[in-house]
Amino acid sequence: MINLDTIIFAISALVAVFGAVMMIGQRNPVASVLYFILSLVAQAVLYIQLGALFLGAILIIVYAGAIMVLFLFVIMLLNLRGQEDLGERGSSVGRFSKYLLVTLFVIELGMVIKSSVLPNAGITGISSMVPSDFGSVVGVAELLFGKYLYPFELASVLLLAAIVGAVVMAGREKAGDTPAAAKPESASGPGSVGGAGD
């Protein structure tokens, strides 16, 4: 039963998990980002295996290419090299309980998958027949500009808001932390006017 699909799946799944594990284990954030990109690439392979060609491409281009660069950019900006003192690691009991918690969660999810009824799932697998335009640019575009036009537009508004928000948040420095300095001025304003009014 071992065919090419299975090998590709096994390798990319392992790489994806490996990248994820390595990501959280690094002290240096730059290394974390690189492992994350590795995991993303492996996941893109899984996407393609599932027939989502377009999304696989998007994942690499947008996610690995743009968003992760943004992360790197911020890390460089803040000049973080992993020498950052992150304090105590916390009690091992605490860490262990967290692992346990997540493990339990994963087991639960596995049980959910096991007990859930998926048509074709157990029998067909990924080699089953699908329409020719499944996962293609056209297919996704038809959905986005047809059935999901409204959420799509909302997403664009969300992005716009995010841009504005990011600019406001990160760009505060330009205004020069002035609220404290501005306060007495604004408080004395009405006071003096009121005094004149009397």
């Binding site: 304003g189 009405p190 006071g191 006017v193 009121g194 009014g197 009397d198």
Partner: protein
């Protein structure tokens, strides 16, 4: 045509004022004050119109308006007034004007918020007095709470936060129980008539089972007793009064305390007449304790404001007692005394406030010899003091006399104990008056105090005029109170006979106790709500 709208107009005109005030910049203090003064003044004129259009001989509610509001729950905007509400509304509008006038200079920070709070409060108070829908009543009741919280908490004295929170917690505690009771009544009414309604007049037609009445009376009664405040729920009052700014004290004492007694007379007595008869002795005893206790504690206070606050406890005890005497004289006296207490105690707080504005202290020991430096002030203070201790030809006497004569008829011992409160009130008021106003000027700060200004005279003179008007010719007031009181009494007296029969039945059928009590509640409740036994 005007008849239908005037009540709504009086109620919401101050709210219009709030909107206007929002348009005025916050630093224009004098225009803010003028605008709110004009608004309050016009509201007062409307209420005078209400008085003029009111038919003193008609029974029942007048100027009634009933517009569906939230139909699915049977909530409607149902307002209307009788003589009792009319007088309380007048009191509210007059005191509001005087409050704004009195706070002209003393409130210098946050003027806008202060005035908005006062006007919102006015809407809330008038709303409570004319609401005939329990939901509406509850909404206005809570609307009152918030501005008052801010008035005490923002513009108050050194312990303002403690006082404000205490005030809110006490009131909230009561009003939540009231909410539960209101909801219970809603569902009971639904069971009874098949439709949801919060309408006071409709629910009043429905007989509640005796045991249901007990619980409902207890819930409403607690809410109102806290507001009155009846001993031992009174401890929020001195704190709130001492910390509150003058204007808030005036409204608190003048109108807010009346909410409690008004609630009793509008809801508890007519709706739960059988329970009223049952609770009667307890409330009377608490009232008597309040009368004596308030007077005694007032006597040893060092702060003028807390003295007046405890005197309020004592006076409100009189009002409660008069109301629960359940006869014409007592109840009419109680209603009139509600107005009188508003005028006299309001005036007392204004007077104390004027002194506070000048000296920034209210401790009795800090004064002395004020009559020498402020003769006009001393004269008005004297008049108000006399009104507070119920000297004939001032308003206090008429109310107190009616209450006492009513209570005496109802129960001789109660009457005698209550009358001794009259002696005590003379003790504490005159002692305080002597220490503040008489004697030599001992403190150098007091030597240069200015007598009252024209603005302050305009605040005090209307109250003095009212004091003498009600004292000398109370007939217009009593005439308007009488029909309303008669109606309440009619309902309660029916219950009294029912209660007597119930007792009789229980006593006569003591061997067959079970059957007796079932029969008794049965003919009250129409056999419907027997589950409440």
């Amino acid at each position: 045509m005007m008849e239908n709208e005037i009540l709504t107009l009086v109620t919401f005109f101050p709210t219009i004022g709030v909107l206007l005030l929002l348009l005025v910049p916050g630093d224009r203090h004098d225009s803010l004050r003028s605008v709110s003064l004009i608004i309050a003044f016009i509201t007062m004129l409307f209420s005078f119109l209400l008085w003029a259009m009111f038919d003193p001989v008609a029974n029942g509610m007048q100027f009634e308006v009933n517009v569906p509001w939230i139909t699915s729950l049977g909530i409607s905007y149902h307002v209307g007034i009788d003589g009792i509400s009319l007088l309380l509304i007048l009191l509210t509008t007059i005191l509001s004007v005087l409050c704004i006038l009195s706070a002209w200079r003393s409130i210098a920070t946050g003027v806008k918020g202060f005035l908005i709070s006062i006007l919102l409060l006015e809407t809330g108070m008038i709303g409570v007095f004319c609401a005939l829908d329990l939901f509406l009543f509850y909404v206005f009741w809570e609307v009152m709470l918030i501005p008052m919280y801010f008035l005490i908490g923002v513009w108050g004295g050194p312990r303002k936060v403690y006082a404000a929170i205490k005030f809110v917690l006490f009131t909230m505690f009561g009003s939540l129980l009231m909410l539960v009771a209101i909801l219970f009544m809603l569902f009971e009414y639904q069971k009874y008539s098949g439709e949801y309604s919060f309408d006071l007049l409709k629910i009043m037609q429905m007989p509640f089972a005796y045991h249901a009445q007990l619980w409902l009376f207890a819930a409403f009664g607690l809410a109102f007793a806290i507001k009155v405040p009846l001993w031992p729920f009174h401890t929020w009052l001195p704190d709130a009064h001492v910390e509150a700014p003058t204007a808030a004290s005036v409204i608190l004492a003048g109108v807010l305390l009346k909410m409690g007694t008004y609630g009793f007379i509008r809801i508890c007595l007519p709706m739960f007449p059988e329970a009223t008869v049952t609770f009667l002795p307890y409330i009377c005893v608490l009232s008597l304790i309040a009368i004596i206790y308030g007077a005694l504690v007032a006597m040893v206070q060092k702060d003028v404001k807390s003295l007046v606050a405890f005197s309020s406890v004592s006076h409100m005890g009189f009002i409660m007692l008069g109301m629960f005497a359940l006869n014409t004289q007592g109840m009419e006296g109680a209603v009139l005394q509600m107005i009188n207490h508003g005028i006299s105690t309001g005036a007392l707080f204004l007077i104390v406030g004027m002194l506070y504005e000048r000296r920034h202290t209210r401790l009795i020991a800090e004064f002395g010899g004020i009559a020498k430096v402020m003769p006009f002030y001393a004269a008005v203070f004297m008049i108000v003091t006399l009104s507070s201790i119920g000297l004939p030809l001032t308003n206090g006497f008429v109310g107190e006399f009616l209450i006492l004569i009513g209570v005496f008829k109802f129960n001789t011992v109660y009457g005698i104990v209550a009358a001794s409160g009259v002696v005590l009130s003379a003790c504490y008021m005159l002692w305080m008056f002597q220490r503040v106003v008489f004697g030599k000027v001992t403190k150098s700060e007091n030597e240069k105090l200015k007598d009252v200004s024209w603005r302050e005279r305009m605040v005090l003179i209307p109250l003095v005029v009212l004091i003498f008007w009600i004292g000398i010719y109370p007939k217009p007031f009593l005439d308007r109170i009488e029909p309303a009181v008669k109606q309440v009494l009619e309902r309660v007296s029916r219950a009294k006979t029912v209660e007597a029969e119930r007792r009789f039945q229980i006593e006569t059928e003591l061997p067959a106790r079970e059957a007796g009590s079932v029969g008794a509640t049965g003919h009250v409740a129409g056999g419907e709500n027997l589950c409440w036994k």
